[in-house]
Point group: C2
Chain length 398, copies 2
């Protein structure tokens, strides 16, 4: 009577004096099973501590109902938000979710290889990772459905934002406040997908910054741009460099909130009061920004994960996803870290300050040409509240 191994369905059937088919029926819905039989089987199951093997069931049924999600730098707040959004949807849809974290290109490659080499998941969500062409091809060859979130990928359903427009949004905001010397602190961007994890959002945001400066008729000053590894402390150091400049910027646009936090910390340390001595604008609107009273460009992080998951589910159901590129809306959230440049600054010259009207004009100009928002030909799900470029929503201080 001593069975070391896990009891199987056959054991249960035997012990209950029924066939395996009946046990299966009891387990799944219990349709067309006499109540007395049902109880007897359940009683035996309970007594034996029988647990059906998910594996065997899935194999037999042919539907694993498992998806994998590949995320880089799991611990970053923006990544977690996306992951949480995806998990919420996948849970609801009854999928098990395998999470693959990649902090290095090696880990990323390892996971990608594993994912394409064997059929372990019905589908895969790729977050913030730029896929090389041959990687995409590998998924296609294995006919593994994939969707991408926060990264473009040719031919793959993708849920993204317009980083260039975001950069313009932040810059336009600062310009509208009257700033003319605006610094940029961002990521060091690797040579490609092999060098680092291939994040390019920082570069795109810088591009938007430059474009918006150009629109406002301000010359681009490379000396005001600092980049380094994505890390708050590093960003603090870079911001410190900017503030030590003979003619320091009156505002800094950071490519992410994490980096903006570093900038805030550096400002405090360098004696630049925020926003009096320095305005700061971040990007992402992660949870802690509200507390820090940081002005930032809001992007729907959690929603991006959820949308990616939804699209993958649709894909798994055989739907055709059109259009491929789903663009999520951005909006500027103005909090306490950005204001009009003060006239009294530690040692700074004042020559670059604009009258308030000038910046406002620049903003208006931006608003009147929403090209940046339409660049992606195939915009789907235009969320009702899709804001006009340059639109600002003030948020009360928490």
């Amino acid at each position: 009577m001593h069975a070391a191994a896990r009891p199987t369905m056959a054991d249960v059937a035997l012990a209950a004096g029924v066939g395996t088919g009946t046990v299966s029926r009891v387990l799944n819905g219990g349709l067309n099973v006499r109540e007395s039989t049902r109880r007897r089987v359940l009683e035996v199951i309970e007594r034996l501590g029988y647990r059906p093997s998910h594996l065997a069931a899935a194999l037999s049924r042919g539907t694993p109902r498992t998806v994998a999600i590949l995320v880089p730098h799991l611990t970053r707040p923006s990544t977690v938000a996306r992951l949480a959004g995806a998990l919420g949807v996948l849970d609801e849809q009854g999928y098990d979710t395998i999470v693959c974290n990649a902090d290095t290109p090696e880990q990323r490659d390892h996971h990608l290889s594993a994912l394409t080499a064997r059929h372990r998941a019905d589908g895969v969500i790729i977050v913030s990772v730029r896929l090389a062409k041959d990687r995409i091809a590998a998924f296609r060859r294995g006919s593994i459905p994939i969707v991408s979130v926060d990264a473009v990928a040719p031919g793959v359903p993708q849920t993204v934002i317009d980083d260039v427009a975001g950069g313009r949004l932040a810059t336009a905001h600062l310009l509208s406040l009257g700033h003319r010397r605006i610094g940029f602190v961002g990521d060091l961007v690797g040579r490609g997908t092999d060098q680092d994890l291939g994040f390019i959002s920082s570069r795109s945001r810088l591009q938007g910054y430059r474009r918006e400066l150009a629109v406002a008729g301000i010359d681009f000053d490379p000396g005001l741009v600092r980049v380094g590894p994505h890390d708050a402390a590093v960003a603090a150091g870079l911001a410190g460099q900017l503030m030590r400049l003979p003619d320091p910027p009156t505002a800094i646009f950071a490519a992410s909130d994490t980096q903006a936090m570093g900038v805030l910390s550096a400002a405090e340390q360098s004696g630049f009061p925020v926003p009096g001595g320095l305005s700061v604008v971040g990007f992402d609107d992660i949870e802690s920004t509200a507390l820090l009273n940081l002005s930032t460009v809001h992007q729907p992080l959690e929603q991006s994960g959820a949308e990616g998951a939804r699209r993958l589910c649709a894909l798994l159901l055989g739907a055709r996803i059109r259009p491929l590129r789903q663009l999520l809306p951005l909006r500027l959230v103005q909090r306490g870290s950005s204001a009009r440049p003060s006239l009294a600054r530690p040692g700074g010259s004042r020559s670059h300050l604009l009258p308030a009207g000038a910046g406002r004009r620049a903003l208006d100009r931006g608003r009147s040409s929403p090209r940046a928002w339409r660049r992606a030909a195939d915009v789907l799900f235009c969320v009702p509240s899709f804001p006009a470029p340059g639109a600002c929503r003030a948020e009360g201080v928490v």
Copy 2:
């Protein structure tokens, strides 16, 4: 030549003119297969885009190599750190990890039921969730190996910290600086495991706070204790209440860094400079605390997840885990948010300030009786650097 369905091993064998056994051999190691055959099979695999079914392989082999991890409130920084630690180890050991996020008791129960009802994972890591007795029994009946991280559970291998000692550590630090009126901001603790997710660390830390006050001979003042839902904004509100007291505290101990951030924000808003007007100590030492210059009680978050995973792996290999309770070390990290109380405070009386020596004495007293650190009879893995209670490590401002 048009096969809609995924090709199977049989298809490959047929196309390559070999048996399924040979294909399998090529796939796994390729021992004892002639090189020419190997190439032929690989070529067919490539041509057909064949990907072996993980499911079938796992079933056949009998080893799914999948574990599940249940985490509450995935987006909290402390949770993510634990998850990342666990994922690192599990990846390395070749396990797939299914992540179950629970933001509500319903989700928790749903996941727990699913986990015990079917055999979908070889083992389960439970993070920060207090398991009811019958839940533990369910796992035991199904003979599903589990380990617990950051939560005690009778009879289950657990990786925890001594929250009471942590509370003492923080309080002793503030006492040693000369504070006598010390506020506490923590979580609202639900009635049990059904009410909320059953976090009780805040309560234990409060207990440590009270105990250390008692040791220092200071009467406990319930008016200095505020609790609410775990949220920075809420904590800010609670801290605001404390600061508006006729005789406000000179220091606040927050039960978590998230809450401490709220306290910092409230202090700034209420015009209490930190640390001049208010000292603040948090708990956890999450990543952003260094940047905020927040003094805090450091607990090895990532390591806790890693240790839990390691122990689960050992369990899966049939090892017997002894002792059950693994206690991780705590240490106080002093940064810029805590200092001796200043004599000039906004409207506060000074009667409660101690000469510096008194607090120091309290600390020394704490150090001389390290009972709190030994309470758990079965301390394993006494990490070499296990610090004496009250030990402080100063950390440079980033």
